[in-house]
């Protein structure tokens, strides 16, 4: 436990009582047997703190993962727990006070990437990350999602379907512009297609090259594919903000677009939470099983490399790979990137704790989109920096733009001599025609 450093405590936001009640009700609405079992099982052993980058780096006990859902656990026990009547009768778990809930904004957003590392160490098998996501629903419904940037983006996404308020036309134009700039044939809004790749807004803004890369590879594969502007944005900032309505709208958009063109496979871009949402939650949000497969881009590349539809040249390069938590630990797609790097002949130096037990880059779960969370992100980045430097290689590949952006910012802030690059673009740059 490194020395406790004074982390910046944001001004306490005090919502009105009605909002608090609404927050609790919306949290409770999500609680099923799994969440209830989790909340009932906690034995307060404190081990989850030892797995969380924010506690480990700051030593601040408030960042103990299970502590982050304390007010909502109280509400659960009072309202629908097995002994709710007793809690109420004896007033055991007092109502969550407005001030209390206000203080929790920093705990549930700034200091939690929903990376699930705490869920791996928990001896009781509690999926804390899942509970945090449900708690964020409550916070959002109480108007307590951090306004600066994450909240704003979620609002825009809720209204326009894109966190940056892009209209379908603007998105279509951008795609064609990228296509012409990179000399790649862009299939956009075609009526029928087997594969529908979706787009992460971060890529649109900061890494447009990845759209070109996807197109280039799909053309290389000779697949029938098309972007669909009527459901393009995979980022789902609403999910990380806790806006269930926004989250559902985005998901519904993508599903309906895919159904419209009879897609057999929807490919999620280099992004963590979008994969978690589409692969594991979309069917539940949509209400029935999806008639198409959902693959993360690395899974598609690995599949293509395995069955020969994708052929690449060898690259004489040594590098390490940073696993995005939602893809490997939470998503079960740890093997795909290794298959790709192996196919490319990259001399891979795995970081310590690579794969399932990786340390989060510190930007996931919307934290990258919260300005005041910068100091916390820097602290989390220190772990990742040490791990990469320990491998002694110059390049870090990753297949999540969120991680890539966070590592980039972290690197710039400490003028780090490592390059952070996209695995997708590496494949696209080394296709063998």
């Amino acid at each position: 436990m490194t020395g406790p450093a004074a982390s910046p405590t944001p001004p306490a936001i005090v919502p009105d009582a009605g909002a608090v009640a609404k927050a609790m009700r919306s949290f409770i609405a999500d609680v099923g047997p799994t969440a209830a079992l989790a909340m009932e099982s906690c034995v307060h052993c404190g081990r989850c703190a030892e797995a969380c980058q924010f506690y480990v780096q700051t030593g601040d006990p408030r960042y103990t993962p299970i502590h982050k859902i304390a007010p909502f656990k109280q509400a659960y026990s009072r309202e629908i727990g097995p002994f709710a009547f007793a809690y109420k009768a004896f007033g055991l778990a007092p109502d969550v006070t407005a001030a209390e809930l206000g203080n929790w904004q920093e705990l549930l957003y700034d200091s939690c990437n929903m990376c699930g590392r705490c869920s791996l160490i928990c001896p009781m098998g509690i999926d804390i990350a899942d509970l945090v996501e449900q708690a964020r629903h409550g916070m959002f419904d109480a108007g307590l999602a951090p306004a600066d940037y994450l909240g704003a983006l979620a609002e825009k996404e809720h209204a326009t379907g894109s966190p940056f308020g892009l209209s379908t036309n603007q998105f279509r134009d951008m795609l064609h512009e990228i296509g012409s700039k990179h000399g790649v044939v862009m299939h956009v809004d075609e009526a029928r297609a087997d594969i529908v790749p979706t787009v992460s807004s971060i890529d649109l803004k900061t890494y447009p090259g990845s759209m070109a890369a996807i197109a280039k590879i799909l053309n290389h594969m000779g697949a029938s594919w098309t972007f669909r502007t009527d459901g393009f944005d995979a980022d789902n900032v609403s999910l990380t903000a806790g806006d269930r309505m926004g989250q559902e709208a985005v998901t519904r958009g993508i599903v309906e677009a895919a159904l419209a063109c009879g897609a057999k496979t929807v490919v999620m871009p280099e992004c963590g939470h979008s994969f978690t949402e589409m692969r594991w939650e979309a069917a539940n949000t949509f209400g029935r099983e999806l008639p198409f497969r959902v693959l993360q881009i690395t899974e598609l590349l690995a599949e293509g490399l395995n069955d020969g539809r994708i052929r690449v040249n060898k690259v004489a390069e040594s590098a390490t790979y940073h696993d995005a938590c939602q893809l490997s630990r939470r998503g079960g797609a740890t093997a795909a990137p290794r298959i790709i790097l192996n196919a490319l002949g990259v001399d891979l130096h795995e970081m310590e704790d690579a794969g399932e037990t990786n340390w989060c880059c510190g930007g996931g779960g919307g934290v990258a989109l919260i300005k005041r969370a910068q100091p916390l992100r820097d602290k989390a980045f220190e772990i990742k920096r040490r791990q990469v430097e320990a491998t002694g290689v110059a390049t870090v590949y990753t297949s999540c733009s969120g991680c890539r952006q966070t590592l980039d910012h972290g690197g710039k802030a400490t003028n780090w001599n490592k390059t952070v690059a996209s695995l997708l673009e590496l494949v696209a740059d080394n296709l063998k025609d």
């Binding site: 006990p61 408030r62 002994f83 160490i121 999926d127 959902v294």
Partner: protein, 219 residues
Amino acid sequence: MTLLEFARGPALQVSVLIMIAGIFWRLAGILLLRRRPQLAAPRISPIGQIGGGLSTIMSRFVPRRTFWPRIAVSVVLSAVFHFGLAIILLAGAPHILLIHQLTGFTWPNLPKGLIVIVSGMTLAALIALLIRRVGHPVLRLLSTTDDYLSWLLVFLPVLTGILLSGEALAEYGTLLALHILSVELMMIWLPFGKLMHSALVFAGRGVMGANFARKGAAT
């Protein structure tokens, strides 16, 4: 009706029934809430998911190597306590006898001297765990009255068990009555507090293991 007859008679009956009713009440109260649908295509078969659940139940007994340095104290202390308690209960002659009378199963017991040593270690681990719970900032923040009450209701049976094996402080009958009464208090509180984890731990780990195995994710 001496204290011992009370402890072994009505008190034992009532506390066991309260515990059973409480456990089933709490489990039903949890497991019968509305299930959120799981419609996404699983990565492995239902059998695989059950296997994932079972493997997690076992795997969580020993934390992953990478976590050890930071939680070594917690792991060692709780291991000494839990294994100590298991040895006392499963290898102590009077306990085997109790189980034999209730179920008919019996097996050889360890000598009493060894059990007393193990009980001493278990007690020491419990005390260390309490000191840690009060001293460590994270644990102090998380702990509620239930933590301390549950600790006490586990500490007393071990303490009275040791005093009973010593048969020195008071007469055997009194010490045995105190030991049984302390176990009964623990049994009554079990379903309503933290001790319920003795039942929930398997359900919790199993559910997580199954859910994560379904996603092909780390269990």
